[in-house]
């Protein structure tokens, strides 16, 4: 395998963003879990004390959501719905069981990833808005009590949805070996593209390591 022929899948800026979101997201989710399920209050201890977790959670949350939204904007063009996507969705069983000959060819992202993308867009916007509304002592005093109650509910629902999709994201990324390396170092092999995202190879803007360097 020649490194020069590797294909650039994630630019450096996006990679930094991604891992920054992972780090802050970990803090946000672990502290948030501590408030959501009181039996898991000990998880909040990653911030020291429950009081500290309460203080850190909204800040870590903003540090997760804002770069996440920057990233989502940067990946927007890869996530438009394409013509093969519906057939791919219908063949989801073959995807899961690796019946590769039956999977329709797709581009940079598969429709599953596009659904994930959309969910992250919606939930991160909702989490940011509702999170600010319930943020004591800075912003909450400006809102009506009933508005805050709904904000708390929507915040919780979106957090659960996001967490479930994060689990799906993590599971798929570790299942399809090479994806994590792609997100870490930016490059994937030609064979990997051919197998998982064949239409990506037709992309006129495709860059390989060799072309980048020269």
């Amino acid at each position: 395998m020649h490194k020069q022929n590797m294909i650039l899948r994630h630019k450096l800026f996006d990679r930094i963003c991604h891992w920054f979101v992972v780090a802050t997201g970990l803090v946000t989710f672990l502290t948030g879990f501590a408030f959501f399920f009181p039996s898991f209050q000990w998880l909040g201890s990653i911030a020291g004390t429950p009081q500290m977790a309460r203080f850190v959670h909204p800040i870590a949350g903003l540090m997760m959501c804002l770069p996440l939204m920057v990233m989502l904007v940067r990946y927007y063009h890869h996530n438009k719905w394409e013509k093969n996507d519906l057939t791919w969705m219908l063949a989801i069983k073959d995807v899961m069981f690796e019946n590769e000959d039956k999977i329709p060819a797709i581009g940079h992202y598969n429709p599953g990833q596009k659904v994930l993308f959309r969910t992250f867009v919606v939930t991160s916007i909702a989490l940011t808005i509702t999170g600010i509304m319930m943020w004591q002592p800075y912003f909450a005093p400006y809102f009506e009590a009933s508005a805050i109650q709904w904000a708390i509910l929507i915040h919780a629902i979106c957090a659960v949805i996001m967490l479930i999709f994060v689990i799906v994201h993590f599971w798929m990324a570790t299942w399809v070996e090479g994806s994590v390396a792609g997100m870490l170092y930016g490059y994937v092999s030609r064979a990997w593209c051919k197998k998982h995202h064949p239409n990506m190879l037709n992309d006129p803007e495709l860059k390989t390591n060799k072309q980048e360097k020269h």
């Binding site: 408030f35 319930m134 708390i152 479930i164 689990i167 070996e177």
Partner: protein
């Protein structure tokens, strides 16, 4: 009062209940008779004295009420509601403090274990040491009672002077009430006294006199005799207080469903991993590996 006297605690569920009452205690209550109150503020002052609270001196806002609102430094406030009846201005004095709900919305909303407890005698109390300052109780309370302190960011409210009542005394506000508008005792006794008083008031022409003891929160530990029970808003009281829909949905539906969803997703992921296994790519240039192989076989 010991930990065994706690019958409800925030941040627990049926699976992890609070310490259960071992001694049967009768529920206590404060009875406020608005028809006897003359707005002297003795209760407000004695509350601040006993609990050593010093609300900042406010500015004149066109009302005898002072301070203008409850705060972490003001747990009992005489509200001077101005009501116009038959072209006449009337004051409706309202002794506003925690209502000590039987089914407290603040406790339901609080996710911090033990930050809000209900004692066997019905008193709802905050353990400020455990409070994280999330303010969920502040937005949940239908009576708008608990407040966060600007300095330590913890929630505070009337404790019904738990420290006094556990040694057999009545709350400070009751002790200092000069007109007998405030009474304290077992809930049963207070309901009985209220009943007699309301009958008397009705006979004297207050046909709408009645007891404010709202069902929506399971009844309260502070019950109030009002001139007109159909007009609780004249006293700044909500007509139908209860734990709001979003808070119930959040605690009773979203949490268990969320837990189920998260566990199910993780379970499916694990199952998929051990059944379908790794999704490896066969690289089309395995030359290097072949090379090392032949090297090895040479040596063998």
């Amino acid at each position: 009062m010991s930990a065994q006297d706690i019958i409800l605690s925030s941040g627990t569920s049926e699976l992890t209940p609070a310490a259960q009452v071992r001694r049967k205690l009768s529920k206590v209550a404060k009875l406020f008779d608005a028809t006897k109150c003359n707005g002297c503020k003795a209760c407000q002052v004695s509350c601040s004295e006993w609990n050593d609270l010093r609300a900042p001196v406010g500015s004149f806002q066109g009302s005898y009420q002072n301070p203008m609102d409850l705060s972490s430094e003001c747990w009992t406030l005489m509200k001077y509601q101005e009501v116009e009846e038959n072209n006449k201005l009337n004051w409706r004095f309202a002794h506003s403090a925690c209502m000590h709900c039987d089914d407290p919305a603040c406790l339901t909303a609080c996710s911090t274990k033990g930050a809000i407890v209900q004692r066997a005698n019905g008193v709802v109390d905050f353990d400020s040491d455990k409070c994280t300052g999330c303010g969920y109780c502040v937005s949940a309370c239908p009576f708008d009672v608990p407040r966060l302190d600007p300095i330590d960011q913890k929630a505070y409210k009337c404790t019904m002077c738990s420290d006094r009542i556990q040694v057999g005394q009545e709350p400070a506000c009751v002790k200092s009430c000069i007109t007998g508008a405030l009474k304290y005792g077992t809930r049963e006794d207070m309901l009985f006294i209220a009943d007699l008083r309301i009958k008397e008031l009705r006979k004297r022409g207050y046909v709408n006199a009645g007891l404010y003891n709202p069902e929506g929160v399971g009844g309260t530990g502070m019950i109030m005799i009002l001139h007109d029970i159909n007009q609780p808003q004249n006293y700044g009281l909500p007509a139908d207080p209860k734990t709001s829909v979003p808070i119930k949905l959040w605690q009773d539906v979203v949490k268990p469903l969320g837990a189920a969803g998260i566990i199910a997703t993780v379970a499916v992921a694990c199952l998929h991993r051990i059944t379908v296994g790794r999704n490896l790519v066969e690289e089309d240039e395995p030359a290097q590996f072949d090379h090392t192989h032949s090297d090895k076989s040479d040596k063998e």
